[in-house]
Amino acid sequence: MSGLVLTLKAPPRQRIDLSSLTPDKLQGVDAAAIASLPLQCGNHEVAVGDLFTVTAGDPEDLRFVGDCGKFDRIGADMTRGGITVEGNAGAYLGHAMRGGRIHVQGNAGIGAAQEMRGGEIAIGGDAGDFLGGARPGEMKGMSGGLVLVRGNAGDRTGDRMRRGTIIIEGSLGAYAASRMIAGTILALGPAIGPYPGFAMKRGSLILLSRSERALPTFADCGRHDLAFLRLLLRALKGRTPRLDELANHPPLVQRFAGDQSVGGKGEILLWQD
């Protein structure tokens, strides 16, 4: 059985919360019923069928076709199955998701993977600010799962992140791993924005390139071949060619500990060629 496909007729004028359309929630709902489900659009409701052409299929393989950049909270709270977005996704992609897979072929807006607890998110293009972070007022960001961004990530990636792994193949914005509590962020691109690790408490930020503006509150702990990096690269085997390439050599890194301005015990590991 092929997947359940929702093809966008035309982009909406206002932002729409799409969290009601997940494999969990569409289980056992037929195509006609899905088309009549209400979505909140500003101060009025629209039916799914007004915005999308619904092609019946397995909701465990849910596909959104078209530019969904105005649709927020895609895959929020999902626990299983897969969502594919053949286009861009809006803000808060995969918010608090616990399991399953989301694949966005285009870009994702701000706050993707915020408070995510498990599962996997792959973003083919760029991710916005606060990837894997916490909503304002929340104390803990992403606390499990894996996020892979093929393009670039915005500012404050991993803000208050608690656990899990984020891989950015492209460049990283400003203040990456700000206020990070634990977890692992790998940035494989050549450009790292200013002040990575700002107010970082614990966790690992692994970089292949140095930031032009590094914080003075990270202490240089020297070069080391860290055994745990072998485990990390093995756990991430096959995810991205650059990491697989790194796994062929001893994992030699320069370790910077901080952020000492907040008594942090986090680390920035700068990969050495």
Binding site: G144, R163, G164, T165, A182, T184, R202, S204, H224, D225, L226, A227, F228, R230, L231, L232, R234, A235, K265, E267
Partner: protein
Amino acid sequence: MIINGVEIEDTFAEAFGMTATRLLITADSPEWAATAAASLTGFATSVIACGCEAGIERPLGADETPDGRPGLAVLIFGMSAKDLQKQLRDRVGQCVLTCAGTACFAGIHDGAPLKLGGALRYFGDGHQISKRLGERRYWRIPVMDGEFVCDDTVGTTKAVGGGNILILGASRPAVLAAAEAAVAAMRAVPEVILPFPGGIVRSGSKVGSKYKGLIASTNDAYCPTLKGETRTALSAEVAAVLEIVIDGLTADAVRAATRAGIAAACAHGAANGVLKISAGNYGGKLGKFHFHLREVMA
């Protein structure tokens, strides 16, 4: 039953239920992994006084270990999960954490977990780092040559301890040669260890003693020098007896090792002074696993 002129006595080995776990120890070289494993499994011949029974199961290639380095699989058996927990903490803490370049991983993931890194992490004095990768949680503990990496927990399994065979022969060299051959064959069997020195024990014991407070004492029925003065189990021509004790993760593993050991000892044959294969038991009242030699060799 007679194999190659060697009599297989109609008796059985009596073994006990134990709790066991497997650790994978890796290092920069196979030699250093072996050094750590030898230290970890040292003084672990019998639960009577060592707290646990431990041994090396097999060497591991770099492609079989979590961190891609050479290593060894080690099995540790205890009378209870509580005993095993204490032994794990102390032995890994003193013998693996201390050993240059090593890492220690769980070789069993199912069953009630015991703390591994979870108990050793405090050595990091607040500088220890926890990393969760997939389903596994690891600890990175800073040490003077870098970091000691180990799993947070290790699983346990119900296991079988105290399987055994006795090799009776016409001379000490003849019995030793047969026992060495048996050990070599038994070590090739997966999921078992032979906890005694070189896999062989010469001081077989019986339950109790004439001395108060001693729970085990020499098995005088099998001591050749006492043949005339005690109720002996030895015939006139037997001059030496050696025992091989087997601990295994399953009864099938113990049975396979028993069979491999007896076959190898019998291959030496009566012509080389191997006279009889027997086994130790307590009348079947103490242990729940019975390995009848003739059934095993059938």
